[in-house]
Structures are given as structure tokens and as C-alpha cells.
């Protein structure tokens, strides 16, 4: 036991002595968190649009005013001819063109119907749909005011739960916590053990009186503690810089974070038992984990909209479960009674990964 403790202490100092690595480990998540927290948005403000007004009359100008004063759009080009629409899109500046037909107001009065065309650059489908929806609702509002005597038999009241202002930072901050913990923990473990193998120092460790399991625990433990420190810093940033609410229990949050870090560490462990060189270990944990964690976890894209096979596949991404847990604790303020299923899945994954790596590790010894 004494030599085990000494080994852990040695590993700790080994990491802390390397100033550059320490700076990287603690500094990078903070910088990323701040950068992304301020920059990444889903909402659309001031989208660049072009106006092509063939009518230039009272109504068309009023509607143009309404659209431009909504805050969603800004007019960057005033076109005079249909042929100018395509070039406006092709240089990439304009996202939507609003086209009023000639005699707009006159038609509205005499025929009861007038047309507006909304042409979008649908190479960005999400942007196109959103912009059309925004513009449509502005025009509909305007249109409703044209007929003040029409009655509305049904009105709809909307209540947004947990994030009434629909701020995207509420979604991205929990996602970033999961992304940072996952990649840093998995990467650190996978490298640290492979490194010993590659440099040949593992042989020396193996002839020491320490048992293999102690070697692994000793290697992983410092990183576990480092990850907990990282958890705290990103949590502080989330609370005080980005003002994401924290409605649940801190104790539960830390317990779950610890569990997730262990999942990531054991994944790193597994990678290190398979990989022979640091290069392979790093490529597997970086190039192999980064996009799946971002795309399949629900961090950015809603999992429920994916094709069914991918929804099933996404279940093996640990970050998906942790994300549900973090959002549950932070935004919904729920306790373990709502999160036990996700917790069990993570615990099961950790156990499975650890068992496999322990087996593999022993085989390598013989």
C-alpha cells in the first residue's frame, strides 16, 4: 500500500512538473468555454437579405419596413431586376430575397390578393426554413391587421419551459461540459499508458512490486482529479459568465460528473490497451471520438430527428447520456429519481469498458 501511494504521488508530480502540459490542461477548456459561450448561437439576427420591389407603393414599402425593423433581417442589397437575384446569392452575401409584384397595393385593393415571393438560398436548408418562417409570420401579422373585423375563434397561448428566452447558450454550455470532459479524459488516459509502452518504461513498471491494477489506478487517478478541477472551472463559467441557471443539486452533479469522467477514462484505458503507439491512441481518441461526440450526442442536432438506426447507434455514445443528465440537473432541476436510467447506463458502460481493458491488460502481461 505504501509503494502504491508513493506511485500515485510520483505520477502526480510527473504531470504537475510539466508546466506546459498543466497550462494546456487547465487553460484550454477555459478559453474554449469562453469563446464558444459567447460566439455559438443558433438564433438568427440580422440575416442579410435583398429586397426587389417591383411595386414601390404604400403597402410594399410598409411591409419592407416591418420586415427590416423586426431585428431578424437587414437589407444589404436593393435590387431592381429579377436577374440580379442569382448573383446576390452566388457571392454568398444574401440569404433571402423578398420580391414584391408590380402594382402590389392596387392588386390588394381591387383583387383582394397580392403576392410576395420569398426566395431563399437553400444550400443552407435550416437557415432557409427559418428565414421563410420569420418573414411569413411578419407578413401574416401585417395581413391580419388589414382585416381588423375578422374574428379569431381560437387563440394559442405558448409557454416555454426551462428556457423561456430560448437562449442557445443553455443548450451549448452543458454540451461543452460533456465534450471537454469526454475528450480530455479519454485522450489523457489513452496517451499516458501507451506512452509508457512506446518508450519502453512499462516493462520497468511491470517488474516493480506493484500489481497491474495498481499501476492502472495510479496512472488514471491524477487525471480523474484534474478532470474534476476542470469540471468546477467550466461550471463556474457557466454559472457566472453565461448565467446558465443551476436548478438542481450540486452534490448530484458532481457525482454524475465523476461517473462520466470514469466512463471516459475507462474508454481511454481500453484504447490504450489496444493501441501500440501514442500516435494510434491519439488518432483513435481524437479523430475517432470528436465528431461522434459532437454530432450524435444531441449537443447540436436533436437525436429524436435522426433516422432510427442512428438513434439506436447514438445510445453507445456516453456523452448522449451525460448530456441528458446535465441538462436535467442544471435546467430542469430534477433529482436522481428522474435520472436513474441514464445513470445506470453510464455505470454499466464504465463497468463493461473496465472489465474489457482489465482482461486485455492481463493478456498482454503473459
Amino acid at each position: 500500500m505504501k509503494s502504491f501511494r508513493a506511485f500515485i504521488v510520483k505520477e502526480f508530480f510527473h504531470i504537475l512538473r510539466d508546466k506546459r502540459t498543466v497550462l494546456i490542461l487547465f487553460g484550454m477548456p477555459v478559453i474554449q468555454m469562453i469563446l464558444f459561450g459567447f460566439a455559438i448561437r443558433n438564433e438568427i439576427n440580422d440575416a442579410r437579405i435583398a429586397i426587389l420591389d417591383h411595386a414601390h407603393d404604400a403597402r410594399s414599402q410598409e411591409i419592407t419596413q416591418k420586415i427590416l425593423s423586426s431585428g431578424y433581417f437587414q437589407n444589404v442589397q436593393t435590387l431592381t431586376h429579377d436577374d440580379q437575384i442569382a448573383p446576390a446569392f452566388e457571392t454568398g452575401d444574401v440569404k433571402m430575397a423578398v420580391v414584391f409584384e408590380p402594382q402590389f397595393t392596387a392588386r390588394l385593393y381591387h383583387e383582394g390578393v397580392a403576392n410576395i415571393q420569398l426566395i431563399t438560398d437553400a444550400t443552407e436548408p435550416n437557415m432557409a426554413t427559418t428565414l421563410t418562417a420569420y418573414a411569413t409570420s411578419i407578413i401574416r401579422d401585417y395581413s391580419a391587421n388589414l382585416n381588423p373585423h375578422a374574428l379569431t375563434p381560437i387563440v394559442t397561448e405558448v409557454k416555454m419551459l426551462f428556457n423561456p428566452e430560448m437562449r442557445s447558450v443553455y443548450l451549448f454550455v452543458p454540451g461543452l461540459i460533456a465534450l471537454l470532459l469526454m475528450l480530455i479524459s479519454a485522450l489523457m488516459t489513452s496517451i499516458t499508458i501507451t506512452r509508457e509502452k512506446e518508450l519502453g518504461t512499462m516493462e520497468i513498471l511491470l517488474v516493480s512490486p506493484l500489481r497491474p491494477i495498481q499501476i492502472i489506478v495510479g496512472k488514471v487517478l491524477p487525471y480523474l482529479l484534474l478532470s474534476l478541477v476542470n469540471t468546477s472551472t467550466v461550471l463556474l463559467l457557466a454559472r457566472f459568465v453565461f448565467e446558465v441557471p443551476f436548478r438542481g443539486s450540486y452534490a448530484l452533479f458532481y457525482a454524475e460528473a465523476l461517473l462520466f469522467i470514469m466512463t471516459a477514462l475507462s474508454l481511454g484505458l481500453l484504447i490504450s490497451t489496444i493501441a501500440r503507439t501514442q500516435q494510434v491512441a491519439m488518432m483513435a481518441s481524437l479523430a475517432g471520438l470528436m465528431l461522434p461526440v459532437i454530432i450524435l450526442s444531441g449537443f447540436i442536432f436533436p437525436v429524436s430527428s435522426m433516422p432510427v438506426p442512428l438513434q439506436i447507434f447514438s445510445n453507445i455514445v456516453p456523452a448522449k447520456w451525460f448530456l441528458i443528465i446535465v441538462k436535467g440537473i442544471m435546467l430542469k432541476g430534477v433529482g436522481i429519481e428522474y435520472l436513474w436510467k441514464e445513470t445506470l447506463v453510464l455505470a454499466g458502460m464504465t463497468l463493461l469498458l473496465m472489465t474489457i481493458s482489465a482482461r486485455k491488460f492481463k493478456i498482454r502481461l503473459e
Binding site: I116, E124, A133
Partner: protein, 370 residues
């Protein structure tokens, strides 16, 4: 020239001898491209929802029918009280609650206004917005078509909105995502491989051996980077072939243009990798720094979230973000068929960055160990 050829051969041999790396370089990116292109969509489908129907009338049943007949919504339960429905939201069993008030039918028929309540889980704000607009559309259609009479006075004026989606009328999200994911994959492979390469020789100690040989600095650098440039081009070509054959990706622009720009781009990425290699001491450090930049490039690069949504200062970072520039160029050229003159600002920025990065890397790399 001869020397370079020898180094090239050595580097290629080293790459191909490493059995662990081969699948990572030549298989993993394509599997990711195939899988992830299908996953990356902002379409909102299969939203789990619950209805609290306090009216239980013909009209309320018709409204429920409206919701369940679209592919956007899946009814998971019809609880008798609101509290129960809210509990399901906490358990992630519903994202939308529709509450139909008592006397809904009677109010509608007698001309009094009936109030429908929509409660939406807005943890994910943008999805919540889409759910709201779908639900509003359903209710609006329902009102227009089903509600027996809509008393109006005088003549009505109506504005007809005609929406057209150019370049991608079916709003196929994959066409938008594939160029982006491809850029991410090519960048990762290029950056990580080159970032680790020189520092690996430092860590293992073989760099000392190379330093005592008569190899010139430029020969060494060319020999080190050329293989990765070739691999990067191969990855992009394969990715485009998959995009074309599997996802029917449009390729309106010229392929020579695409590959010409890719070469510039790869020089930039490999230069960055080499630079990271020279300022670090261990592969671990090199990897962390490469990862640090990669995540920033990707998340700030307009790959997943539109650049236009970012604050202005963040939009400006596009000009120093290779991933952002390259994604932008590829989308313009492949999806819209933009010729070179339309993308000159972005290409110039790329060339400028490539030149700066590569020069820095070469200056920083010394043939001596400190």
C-alpha cells in the same frame, strides 16, 4: 531531389508499416462520413407530445387527429391532468403539451374565443422554436378548415406568400453537411498526423540521428509533409466520390478548382501541424494543442451552427479560421457552382494564411535540438 525521394520513401514506408494507423487513416473517415451525414440534421421530426383534453368533444378529437397525422409529432400519452403531463416533460417523455380547455367546442361554435395552451420544453431553444411553428401551423390550418364558420365583415385583403428554395429545393440537409464534415475529417487527419510527426522523432530521439545527416532543412520538411499532402488529397477525393455516389451530392463547380484550393488548404494545415510540432516537446502536448485548435476551428467555422448567427467579432474570425474559409469555399463551389472570381476573397485569405503559417513553421524548425 534524390535525397527528397529517399525521405519520401522512408516516410511512406513508415506510414504503411504502421498497421494500427492504416484503418484510422483510410477507413475511419469514410465510415464517419457515411454515418454522421445522416445524423446531422436540424429537421424536427418525431417530437414526443401529450395532449390534455379537458373538452372531449368532436372538435377536440379532430384537433388531436390533426396533430397525430403529421410525421412531426408522436403522441405518447393523453393524461387527464396537466401536472402529469409536466412530469413527462421532466422525464423526457414529451417535449410538447397541448392543453385543450373545457368548453372548447362550445366556445368556438358560439363565437367566443377558445384558448389553446401549448407548453414546450425549450432547453433546446431552436428546436423549441421549430416545434412552436409546426404546432401553430397545424392549429391555423385546423381553424381555417374545420371551424364551422368564421364571421367576417366587409371585404378581405389577403397577402399570398410564395416561398421558393433555390439551389436545394428539397431542403436536403445532407448536401449542406457533407462538404463541411469532409473538411473536418480531412483537417483532422492532416493536422493530427503532421502535428505528431516531428515531435515523435524528438520524443523517441530519432531526430538527433536525422540532424547529423547532411539532409537540408527544406528537404527534410518537404519529405515530411508531402506524404500527408498526398493522403489529404486522397481523402478528399474519396470523400467526394462517396458524396456523389451515396448522397447524390451536387458538384456544380469545377473539380480542378476544388483540388487546386485543397492543395493550398493542405499546405496551410500541414504547416500548422509542423509548427505545433516544433513548439512542443511531447506528442501529448502536440495533440492537445492540435485538438484545441481543431475544436475551435470547427465550432466557430460554420460547420454546425451558421456563422451569421454569431456576434460580429466572431463572424470576423472566419478570416483567420482555415476550416471556416474552406467550408465556405467548398459549399459555394460544389452547391452553387461559384466560379473562382466569386470566391477570390476567401481564396486569398487562405493563401495568405498558408504562406504565413508555413513560413513560421520553417523558421521555427531548427536542425538542432535545444
Amino acid at each position: 531531389m534524390r535525397t527528397i525521394r529517399f525521405i519520401l520513401r522512408k516516410e511512406f514506408l513508415q506510414i504503411f508499416r504502421n498497421k494500427g494507423m492504416l484503418p484510422i487513416i483510410f477507413v475511419m473517415p469514410f465510415i464517419q462520413l457515411l454515418i454522421l451525414s445522416n445524423a446531422a440534421t436540424f429537421d424536427v421530426k418525431n417530437v414526443k407530445f401529450q395532449i390534455v383534453d379537458r373538452d372531449r368533444s368532436d372538435l377536440s378529437r379532430q384537433l388531436i387527429e390533426r396533430f397525430t397525422s403529421t410525421h412531426h409529432f408522436i403522441l405518447t400519452d393523453m393524461p387527464t391532468n396537466y401536472a402529469q403531463a409536466e412530469g413527462s416533460v421532466l422525464k423526457n417523455e414529451a417535449s410538447l403539451i397541448v392543453e385543450i380547455p373545457a368548453f372548447f367546442e362550445k366556445d368556438v361554435i358560439t363565437g367566443a374565443t377558445a384558448k389553446l395552451q401549448l407548453v414546450i420544453n425549450s432547453e433546446d431553444g431552436s428546436t423549441a422554436g421549430v416545434i412552436q411553428s409546426y404546432a401553430a401551423q397545424i392549429i391555423q390550418d385546423f381553424t381555417r378548415q374545420t371551424v364551422p364558420f368564421q364571421p367576417t365583415q366587409g371585404t378581405t385583403q389577403r397577402i399570398e406568400i410564395i416561398a421558393r428554395n433555390w439551389y436545394n429545393p428539397e431542403l436536403n440537409y445532407k448536401h449542406y453537411m457533407i462538404p463541411g464534415i469532409l473538411v473536418a475529417l480531412v483537417t483532422m487527419i492532416g493536422l493530427f498526423l503532421s502535428g505528431m510527426n516531428v515531435v515523435r522523432e524528438k520524443e523517441i530521439g530519432t531526430i538527433e540521428q536525422i540532424n547529423v545527416t547532411p539532409i537540408k532543412k527544406h528537404q527534410f520538411i518537404i519529405g515530411k509533409l508531402l506524404p500527408f499532402l498526398i493522403i489529404g488529397l486522397f481523402e478528399l477525393a474519396m470523400g467526394l466520390v462517396i458524396g456523389r455516389l451515396v448522397f447524390d451530392l451536387p458538384m456544380l463547380g469545377g473539380l480542378p478548382l476544388v483540388f487546386g484550393i485543397t492543395i493550398i488548404y493542405l499546405i496551410l494545415v500541414l504547416g500548422l501541424g509542423l509548427f505545433i510540432s516544433t513548439v512542443t516537446e511531447t506528442q501529448q502536448q502536440a495533440m492537445f494543442i492540435a485538438w484545441f485548435f481543431m475544436v475551435i476551428f470547427m465550432l466557430m467555422g460554420g460547420l454546425f451552427t451558421p456563422l451569421d448567427s454569431m456576434p460580429l467579432w466572431a463572424q470576423q474570425t472566419m478570416w483567420i479560421n482555415p476550416v471556416a474559409l474552406f467550408i465556405r469555399i467548398l459549399r459555394q463551389v460544389l452547391l452553387k457552382g461559384a466560379p473562382l472570381q466569386d470566391i477570390i476573397p476567401y481564396v486569398s485569405a487562405l493563401i495568405g494564411l498558408a504562406f504565413t503559417m508555413f513560413t513560421l513553421a520553417v523558421i521555427r524548425y531548427r536542425k538542432t535540438s535545444d
